[in-house]
């Protein structure tokens, strides 16, 4: 279970949010909403431990995530608004290397299948720099196929730049993760229905 207690975030002089409380259990979906600049990305990066909260704490199974360190990062899958892909490598290479770096190597065949599921079968061997924005996003999201072992998925604008054909595919991926007891925290400006037993919304940018 992930728990945020009295979380506060300041960037420069500006307070983005304070006294933020929420808890997220197995199978729960949390959508973070708010206008641009309200601190959605900052909150997600805090959940990953990349950004330290100005005040308050985040707990995973009742332990501060800063104390858990690597053990917390092992339960986490994060896809930021940057795709985290190497432009000179192709989709298969990118997937294989990023999964090996995450500690669980996958075969080229498995990587190819994950890409094919997101409609990239014909582009799997092309350097990522030749792909369109939406296709790159798909390569980044294909990682999720190998992250079933990570209970907590943190996704920053997963649907941005995707065409309408592939959005339901990603939504199904998220729904499957929730069904097996995973948790998903995400932000989006698009209305995408995701099947979830427990769906919650966190609105940022209202507290002054």
């Amino acid at each position: 279970m992930l728990q945020a207690h009295n979380l506060e975030c300041t960037r420069g002089e500006r307070v983005l949010f304070r006294h933020l409380e929420f808890r997220l259990g197995a199978g729960e979906l949390l959508r973070v909403e708010g206008p641009n600049g309200s601190g959605k990305t900052s909150l997600l990066r805090m959940l990953c431990g990349s950004l330290s909260p100005t005040a308050g704490e985040l707990r995973w199974q009742d332990t501060d995530i800063r104390k858990l360190g690597e053990r917390y990062r092992a339960v986490l899958a994060y896809i930021g608004h940057q795709n985290g892909l190497k432009a000179d490598l192709n989709g298969v290479e990118n997937l294989q290397l990023s999964e090996a770096i995450a500690g669980m190597p996958v075969t080229a065949e498995a990587a190819r299948q994950a890409l094919a599921r997101l409609g990239l079968a014909a582009h799997a061997e092309l350097p990522v720099r030749l792909l369109s924005q939406g296709q790159r996003r798909r390569v980044a999201l294909a990682r999720l196929a190998f992250r079933a072992r990570c209970p907590l998925w943190v996704l920053d604008e997963p649907f941005v730049a995707l065409d309408t054909a592939v959005v339901p595919e990603i939504a199904a991926l998220l729904a499957a993760h929730l069904r097996r007891g995973g948790m998903v925290v995400y932000t989006t400006h698009q209305e995408v229905p995701i099947e979830a037993a427990e769906q919650r919304v966190l609105r940022l940018g209202q507290a002054a």
């Binding site: 950004l51 290397l97 770096i101 500690g103 190597p105 007891g181």
Partner: protein, 242 residues
């Protein structure tokens, strides 16, 4: 609502396989070597720079064998040192820009080990070629065979240290404006011991002394930076990502 289910799944997650650190380290090395191979122009820059700088001195000074023999070791080391610095700018900056650095930092491993993988790849692609080509360039300075062997040994011990120290500089200046100049200011003073003992080893052999002492000191510098530099770089990277 699905409480019974919850406990079962959390147990399943508790038994999840241990992430493999060795595989992750090798993946980082392979990734960076692969990327360097795809951008061969960047690789050649370092090597060509080294060759040109080391070749300009004999041309500028003329065929004064005695002078060349005296300045040879120092010039070759200074050229190697400056060449090693050229590649530092891109070491973390490219990964920072495309978001892969953040993914590295979120991998379930000590970031210092992954940084060590990046430095290893940096050395293989930019340091090792310098070590290999150095004896050829040494011929221009009329260095005797024994001095050339020592030069190779000293460079083989010294260039990994340069890469390790350089990584700290690259990590500390990540995201700063005017990074190129800043890295030189930070890193060049720290390169001085390597320069002194590296050139000293070759000088010693040329004056008929044993280079063992110098080489041991280079080895010691390498061991210390092998332990300290990845930790320092990883800490600096976490600050840059915050």
């Amino acid at each position: 609502m699905n409480q019974p289910n919850t406990a079962a799944t959390l147990d399943a997650h508790a038994e999840m396989p241990e992430p493999r650190l060795g595989a992750a380290f090798l993946a980082v090395v392979r990734r960076d070597v692969l990327l360097a191979m795809r951008r061969r122009a960047d690789l050649l820059t370092t090597l060509v720079f080294f060759i040109i700088v080391a070749s300009l001195f004999p041309l500028g000074i003329g065929p004064e064998m005695n002078v060349l023999r005296v300045i040879g070791p120092g010039v070759l080391w200074v050229a190697a040192l400056l060449a090693a610095m050229l590649a530092l700018n891109r070491l973390f900056a490219a990964d920072f820009a495309d978001g892969t650095l953040e993914q590295l930092a979120l991998a379930p491993h000590p970031l210092s080990v992954l940084v060590l993988g990046k430095v290893a790849a940096l050395w293989v692609t930019t340091g090792l070629p310098l070590v290999v080509i150095a004896p050829l360039l040494g011929l221009q300075y009329d260095l005797p065979a024994a001095a050339l062997y020592t030069l190779v040994a000293a460079l083989a011990l010294g260039t990994p240290t340069l890469a390790l120290i350089g990584a700290v500089g690259a990590a500390l200046t990540l995201g700063a404006r005017g990074r190129g100049v800043l890295i030189s200011l930070l890193v060049l003073p720290l390169y001085i011991p390597v320069l002194i003992f590296g050139a000293g080893a070759v000088d010693a052999v040329m004056s008929g002394l044993d280079a063992g002492g110098h080489l041991s000191l280079l080895g010691a510098l390498l061991l210390v930076s092998l332990v300290v530099a990845p930790l320092a770089s990883a800490a600096a990277l976490r600050i840059a990502l915050d």
